[in-house]
């Protein structure tokens, strides 16, 4: 399984998660876990997703997320999970 972490930061409003999840559903990307926190009207969210069934390249995934980001007024970014494990786990 190819586990990717998608992060989202921006101003919180109704429909952010729905729009992002819609993009994942359209592209055969399965959400494995989702964590978020909101503070003073801003949202920080991370989603662990399985990109095995996604047919595009990693650049195409990030381009798609950029478009979703424009729609919801947030910054989205996909990164392989391994980078976080390497940095934060011994």
């Amino acid at each position: 399984m190819s586990r990717t972490i998608v992060t989202l930061v921006g101003k919180d409003h109704v429909g952010i998660i729905a729009t992002v999840c819609g993009f994942f559903a359209e592209n055969n990307i399965n959400i494995l876990d989702l964590k978020q926190s909101t503070s003073q009207g801003f949202i920080n969210m991370m989603m662990i997703v399985d990109t095995d069934a996604f047919t595009g390249t990693f650049d195409e995934l990030n381009e798609g997320l950029d478009k979703v980001g424009e729609k919801v007024g947030c910054i989205l970014k996909a990164q392989h999970e391994e980078i976080f494990d390497m940095m934060h786990r011994i």
């Binding site: 992060t7 876990d33 662990i48 990164q79 940095m87 934060h88």
Partner: protein
């Protein structure tokens, strides 16, 4: 499972504090290219480099994109060219032809620098070594991406003062050959004492003769990340400060380790080392001088700076060593002037002098680096500065280097601009008293007593 705060710590390091992988450098041995016919030799060199590194840039960019940390530079280092061209080159112009071949190969595969236009002359110079050194001014003027390094001394052997004196002239001639561009050629020329065989950073990278046919070395970065981490413990005691540097260095180095292993796997080339050096850029906040400021100095160069740099260098190593399976290269803090906007500022206001920089090189990994000096500086004075720095490296059993840029036609206080990562700075004053009678003596400085360990 990774936590939300950890994920955003990493994301912030990249987006706010310039975390990047500074370079993925492929070392390529050219020993199997040696040929007495210059045209055949150049053909073999071009083919070996372009075949070995054809996917280097693509793979570097892919890894950067997939892990979300940019790989700023993709580079190549080759076996010291004095060894490779010795049989074929009968005059300096022949070596220049090899430099042009290296430049052409670098452009073909898309790397921004290729290092290894080098000679190792710690003890003496062969005919090939001397011809290569004499060819440097022209070679660096007619090429764009070729970097040159000359090893002039080592703890085990001593210092070749004939070569030191010669390099004083060569630095001036290189400056003159590129005077239209603020003597930019000298930014691609460095002299060393105790150079490592596996350094991924330019201008000093070369592929040592003890290395494998090809190797992947990675240089990490992260001054901005380090400064941000230290700002969280402002006013805390030395123990807390040191622990913060170590933990941050660990995280930064882990990125380098991951990228090195991944680049090695995708390119089918063995992993060599991760170089732990904190390498600044002219970008705001990506500065070693800013770290020193954060540690408590008003400006880099103020009293206390050498102690602060010693702490930084040591703690970066202690944190980084555990994060990588093989550590090598220069591994410490770089203190270039023009490439670090806050260091340039400290020099401009007089907080930082050439002499203080020399003291700082006693405790960090490199040396007098990217310092613009008056174009009228005598060659003997440059040789004297080189000799001082080589002596520091020789006696302290460490790498030291000199990359001075005598900017032809400009004087103290004038502005020198090199562009891109090479940066800009005002020209610093040099001690006006001479040392010609010392550097003109000729011969070698013997190895220090503590080198005799057998």
């Amino acid at each position: 499972m990774v936590e939300l705060n950890e994920v955003f710590e990493t994301v912030n390091m990249v987006s706010n504090y310039n975390l990047d992988v500074r370079t993925i450098t492929m070392g390529i041995s050219l020993l199997d290219c040696i040929d007495p016919n210059l045209d055949v030799l150049c053909g073999k060199i071009y083919n070996k480099i372009t075949e070995s590194a054809k996917d280097l840039v693509k793979v570097g960019d892919e890894i950067g994109s997939e892990y979300g940390v940019p790989v700023i530079n993709k580079r190549i280092s080759v076996t010291p060219i004095a060894l490779i061209g010795g049989a074929a080159c009968k005059r300096p112009e022949d070596f220049v032809k090899i430099a042009e071949t290296l430049d052409k190969a670098a452009k073909k595969v898309g790397v921004n620098f290729i290092g290894g236009y080098s000679a190792l002359v710690q003890k003496g110079m062969t005919t090939g070594d001397k011809l290569l050194i004499e060819s440097i001014p022209q070679a660096l003027a007619v090429t764009e991406r070729v970097c040159s390094s000359i090893s002039l001394g080592s703890t085990k052997i001593g210092i070749n003062m004939n070569a030191v004196r010669l390099m004083g002239d060569i630095v001036i001639k290189t400056a003159e050959a590129t005077k239209e561009n603020d003597s930019l050629g000298c930014a691609k020329l460095v002299v060393f004492c105790n150079p490592p065989d596996d350094n991924p950073f330019m201008a000093g990278a070369f592929h040592g003769v003890t290395e494998a046919d090809r190797i992947i070395n990675v240089g990490v970065s992260g001054p901005g990340v380090m400064r941000a981490a230290l700002s969280e413990v402002r006013g805390a005691d030395f123990e807390t400060m040191c622990e913060t540097i170590k933990k941050t260095a660990f995280k930064v180095t882990r990125v380098g380790q991951l990228f090195a292993k991944e680049a090695s796997r995708r390119l089918g080339v063995p992993f060599g080392i991760v170089d732990l050096s904190l390498a600044p850029t002219p970008a705001v906040g990506d500065s070693i001088a800013d770290i020193i400021h954060e540690m408590g100095m008003e400006y880099a160069g103020a009293p206390g700076t050498t102690a602060a740099l010693a702490i930084l260098n040591d703690q970066v190593k202690k944190g980084g060593v555990m994060a990588s399976s093989y550590v090598g290269g220069l591994s410490g803090a770089f203190i270039p002037v023009t490439e670090d906007s806050s260091m340039a500022k400290a020099a401009e206001i007089g907080a930082l002098s050439l002499e203080k920089l020399e003291a700082m090189t006693c405790v960090c990994s490199v040396g007098l680096d990217m310092i613009a000096i008056p174009g009228s500086t005598p060659a003997t004075t440059i040789a004297g500065i080189i000799a001082d720095e080589m002596a520091i490296g020789m006696v302290n059993q460490k790498t030291t280097a000199v990359r001075l840029i005598p900017v032809i036609g400009k004087d103290v206080g004038d502005f020198a601009e090199f562009g891109g990562l090479l940066g800009e700075a005002k020209i610093m004053p040099v001690n006006k008293y001479g040392c010609a009678d010392f550097v003109n003596r000729g011969g070698r400085i013997p190895a220090p007593i503590h080198s005799f360990k057998n």
